[in-house]
């Protein structure tokens, strides 16, 4: 059979730039980045509070996450459920996230309701009640979440992978939300102390985007300028890796029909001159459907529903990781084959693979950033990483210019397959036997949770 029509040629993409914000500063030191996005009827407002997670007290880890989760459970002005009723009456949905560098909290709201919603967001951020009963409830919910996490293969292998890659001295070796022991110890006072120390206007950036109504600057100022706090200095500390040689760990999950596989190591960050080459190489290897890993292990072997690899940058350093779920019988074969595919020294990336990866990474940008929420979220990620918003256009320009040699050499310099940690969560008896047969004698571990 032949095609009815020949494959059409594809023209050139329209040049695209990440939208540039208008930057201002409120009298109390809050930086404001405003993205005017006509036609975006749903506005997004994020407040990023710079607060390195490594400054959580070691025996109170999880306090940043609990502070965020309790913040909309009542404020000094609108106690109890009153604040969420007021937010929801405006159609505002409040959510947030804690990462290694700080806390992001914000709302999505129909743009025409921003004027009414902004004071409520300011109230949640500046004056949360953090009432004892809400703190207790959220501690119980976090403990339950830990139970549910470790009951899954993916959750258990993520925990183990952190511990394999990062030194116990580093906060990154433990989950952002904390482990059972430190979470169970938290009190209301811990959250009050944390909020006072780290949710501070002079460490905060408001990022707002959407079809913004007239007067939005005044609304922001009126809502947030009365927020005051004690000043404190803090610094971000790069994470440390484990000094030991490669760890090959098996987390036992009896009766599992699949093994959850993680392969990876401590890696680098966006400021590294190799960063662009690494992102391109990771995309060609495991960032798209046509990547080497997915093509071989899914489309040729049928070993998995999907396999991917990526670099996850922190402000300094970061991780490289590969993940997949495979049926137990083939999990170790898949591991060995994936490791071989990560060895680019003998099989450098071909020009067409690199061209596809560049087109994928750069071309997908306008599709990814087509809503106020996506633009605000990306800008917030850059603020969290300590970078200016212009960084993203420079990154795309550098990506477009990346050569096959540059991508291969960067990857070979940073990723040494023989040193990568390996974590498999599944039926330990089969996995230990198969790994040992392949010369990867594992240790069976129970990750701290």
């Amino acid at each position: 059979m032949t095609s009815l029509q020949p494959r059409p040629a594809v023209g050139s993409p329209t040049p695209w730039d990440f939208p540039q914000p208008t930057e201002t500063m409120l009298v109390n030191g809050i930086r404001v980045l405003r993205f005017d996005l006509p036609g975006q009827h749903v506005a997004s407002v994020d407040v990023f509070m710079d607060a390195p997670l490594n400054l959580e007290p070691r025996d109170r880890e999880g306090v940043a996450t609990l502070t965020l989760r309790c913040s909309d459970e009542g404020t000094l002005d609108h106690p109890g459920a009153a604040i969420s009723a007021l937010l929801e009456a405006q159609g505002a949905s409040y959510s947030g996230e804690v990462d290694a560098h700080g806390t992001l909290a914000g709302i999505q709201v129909p743009a025409h309701r921003l004027g009414a919603a902004l004071p409520l967001l300011a109230d949640v951020i500046a004056r949360p009640a953090l009432a004892a009963e809400d703190v207790q409830r959220h501690i119980a919910l976090r403990l339950s979440q830990i139970d549910r996490t470790v009951a899954t293969a993916a959750g258990a292998s993520s925990l183990a992978f952190r511990q394999a890659v990062f030194s116990p001295n580093s906060r990154q070796s433990r989950p952002t939300g904390g482990l059972r022991e430190s979470v169970g110890r938290l009190t209301r006072q811990d959250l009050l102390d944390y909020h006072r120390s780290f949710w501070r206007p002079e460490a905060a950036t408001i990022i707002i985007g959407g079809d913004l109504p007239a007067g939005v600057d005044e609304s922001i100022a009126a809502a947030f300028e009365s927020w005051q706090s004690e000043s404190a200095q803090h610094s971000h500390r790069p994470p440390e890796g484990n000094a030991d040689p490669r760890r090959v760990w098996v987390v036992d999950r009896p009766g599992s029909v699949q093994a959850d596989l993680r392969i990876g190591a401590l890696a680098t960050d966006r400021r590294d001159p190799d960063w662009v080459g690494l992102r391109v190489a990771a995309d060609a290897l495991g960032g798209s459907f046509g990547s080497r890993l997915n093509r071989r292990l899914r489309e040729e072997r049928g070993y998995t529903y999907g396999i991917s690899c990526a670099f996850a940058p922190l402000r300094s350093r970061g991780t490289f990781s590969l993940s997949a779920s495979c049926r137990t019988e083939v999990a170790v074969d898949a591991t060995v084959e994936a490791l071989a595919l990560l060895d680019l020294a003998d099989d450098p990336l071909r020009p067409e693979e690199v061209a596809d990866a560049i087109n994928h990474l750069v071309g997908v940008a306008p599709l990814r950033f087509d809503t106020a929420d996506a633009i605000v979220e990306q800008a917030a990620a850059l603020v969290s990483a300590g970078l200016d918003v212009g960084w993203i256009d420079r990154y795309y320009a550098a990506t477009t210019a990346c050569t096959p040699e540059q991508a291969t050499e960067a990857f070979v310099r940073h990723v040494r397959p023989q040193d990568l940690h390996i974590v498999l969560c599944g039926d330990a008896s089969a996995l230990v036997r198969d790994l040992t047969e392949r010369g990867l004698t594992p240790q069976v571990v129970v990750p701290a949770s």
Binding site: M1, T2, L4, Q5, P6, R7, V10, G11, P13, T14, W16, P38, H41, G80, A81, A85, E88, A89, G91, A92, S93, S95, V98, P110, A140, L141, S144, Q145, R148, T149, A151, T152, A153, A154, L159, P175, G177, G255, S256, V257, S288, G290, R295, E299, E300, R301, G302, T304, Y305, S323, S325, R327, A355, D356, N359, V364, P366, L367, D370, A372
Partner: protein, 456 residues
């Protein structure tokens, strides 16, 4: 001053009977190409359970102009995204591409509609991939058999919705190349699909391009497949109950109802009633169960099914030491109360405001806008529903909600699924195991609701 939706909608048909809906948007950075084939797992015959979804995987395995697995790689390599999902009522294929690659997406979709080419090796490999998908999403995760149990509880044997879309492994094993050819011939026809193009496009030339790529596909003499019809089922009586012991970390409770199909005039009021009860931190059930330390989470949803009935659900997970019977009684009481007094104006306003945000946020992305247009075109017969849906939801009155709670969501008409943790037992059956989100640290605990879609 709520937003008035006015997405342009242009309806056309090609010379060979392909229904086309265009929704141009000059401000969009991309263009979405979305196809809904009118065949889903509900249309599978006995012995072929799971085939519609396996077939969807095979649609990526090559055609006259495309090598196996080339379609997705090709779209990604021009900076686009593509995928497909299968559910009970339809199979959809979607591509979002930069405007300069619109022709490529149209050509690729037309090529596999006109000339799918699958060999035994591709079939065998994708069968393994689908079995891995089943293990990853169902067999190896906690509560992984929830959808299967819910369907069994609500739909009798032989009903089009009696089994999950993922199907039965034995039936997948039996699938042959003959089945693949017959299925393509029966369902994958210009007259069996609706094509939506939404986003940035040249409106003067777009139809001639659709005609160029799709117009030559022969409209075969035999009639296109007709979706299986199901008669409405009566409401439950005597509270059918499935109580299972599983290797799960917590108990869970699902109250479910045979609700009206998505096209029924009562469907919007069902959606609003479930939102008054369970959507958001100021919903009745959140205040009564979660804020009072009885439940960790509660939420409601309707599956939006179209044949005879849909399925409505209120799901909750108790706090430690709280009995499921207490949760169940309080949920029933909340529904009875809503039936007798109806929601307050403030509750309706809250639900309206949140519905507005959710709907506008969904439509802000051309990919989802195209899918919504296709859902309205395919299930409701009219794509303009995208512009009027919000107004329909917001026109639901307090009296409508009260009536829904006394009828479709009447507690006496519920069925109940209970999970109880079995800490003593190692899982006996692989299908009774665990797993969950890939992210070990979701930002906020949320209710784990079930999905009825399978992706490629």
């Amino acid at each position: 001053m709520a937003v008035v939706l006015d997405y342009p909608i242009i309806e056309r048909t090609t010379s060979n009977g392909l229904r086309v809906i265009l929704s141009p948007d000059a401000s969009a950075p991309s263009v979405a190409v979305n196809l809904w084939y009118r065949v889903g797992s509900a249309d599978e015959s006995d012995g072929a359970k799971g085939f519609a979804h396996l077939f969807e995987h095979l649609m990526f395995q090559g055609s006259a102009g495309l090598a196996p697995s080339e379609h997705l790689a090709l779209i990604q390599a021009v900076g686009g995204t593509a995928n497909a999902t299968t559910s009970f009522d339809r199979t959809n294929y979607f591509n979002t591409v930069p405007p300069h690659a619109l022709d490529l997406a149209l050509w690729a979709e037309a090529d596999r509609l006109g000339s799918l080419m699958v060999d035994q090796l591709n079939l065998d490999t994708q069968r393994e991939v689908v079995k891995e998908e089943k293990r990853q999403r169902y067999d190896n995760v906690p509560y992984g058999d929830q959808l299967e149990l819910l369907l069994e509880l609500n739909f009798p044997d032989g009903h089009p919705y009696a089994l999950p879309t993922i199907g039965l492994v034995a039936d997948l094993e039996a699938a042959s190349l003959t089945h693949v050819r017959d299925f393509h011939a029966a369902w994958y026809r210009p007259t069996g699909v609706t094509l939506v193009i939404a986003g940035k496009m040249d409106t003067d030339t777009v139809m001639s391009r659709v005609e160029r790529y799709f117009g030559g596909i022969s409209a075969s003499a035999s009639p296109v497949g007709v979706p299986v019809v199901a008669e409405p089922l009566p409401p439950h009586h005597n509270v059918p109950r499935a109580s299972v012991l599983r290797h799960v970390p917590r108990a869970s409770l699902q109250l479910c109802w045979r609700t009206p199909p998505v096209t029924h005039p009562d469907h919007p009021a069902v959606v609003i009633a479930l939102a008054v009860l369970g959507a958001g931190q100021s919903s009745r059930l959140h205040l009564d169960l979660v804020r009072t330390d009885r439940a960790e989470v509660v939420g409601g949803q309707d599956f939006g099914l179209s044949r005879g009935n849909s399925l409505g659900l209120i799901a909750s997970r108790p706090c430690e030491d709280v009995a499921l019977t207490e949760l169940e009684a309080r949920i029933c009481e909340a529904i009875e109360q809503l039936a007798s007094t109806g929601p307050s104006e403030a509750e309706l306003a809250r639900v309206a405001a949140n519905t507005e945000r959710e709907w506008l946020a969904l439509l802000a992305q051309v990919e989802h806008r195209a899918d919504a247009l296709n859902e309205f075109a395919t299930l409701f017969g009219d794509p303009h529903g995208v512009n009027t849906w919000l107004a329909r939801l917001q026109s639901v009155t307090a009296a409508d909600v009260a009536k829904i709670c006394a009828t479709w969501l009447n507690p006496d008409a519920r069925a109940v699924l209970e999970y109880h943790p079995d800490p003593a037992a190692l899982p006996l059956d692989p299908a009774e195991l665990d797993g969950d989100p890939l992210d070990e640290d979701p930002a906020d605990p949320d209710v784990a609701l079930v999905t009825d879609e399978e992706s490629a």
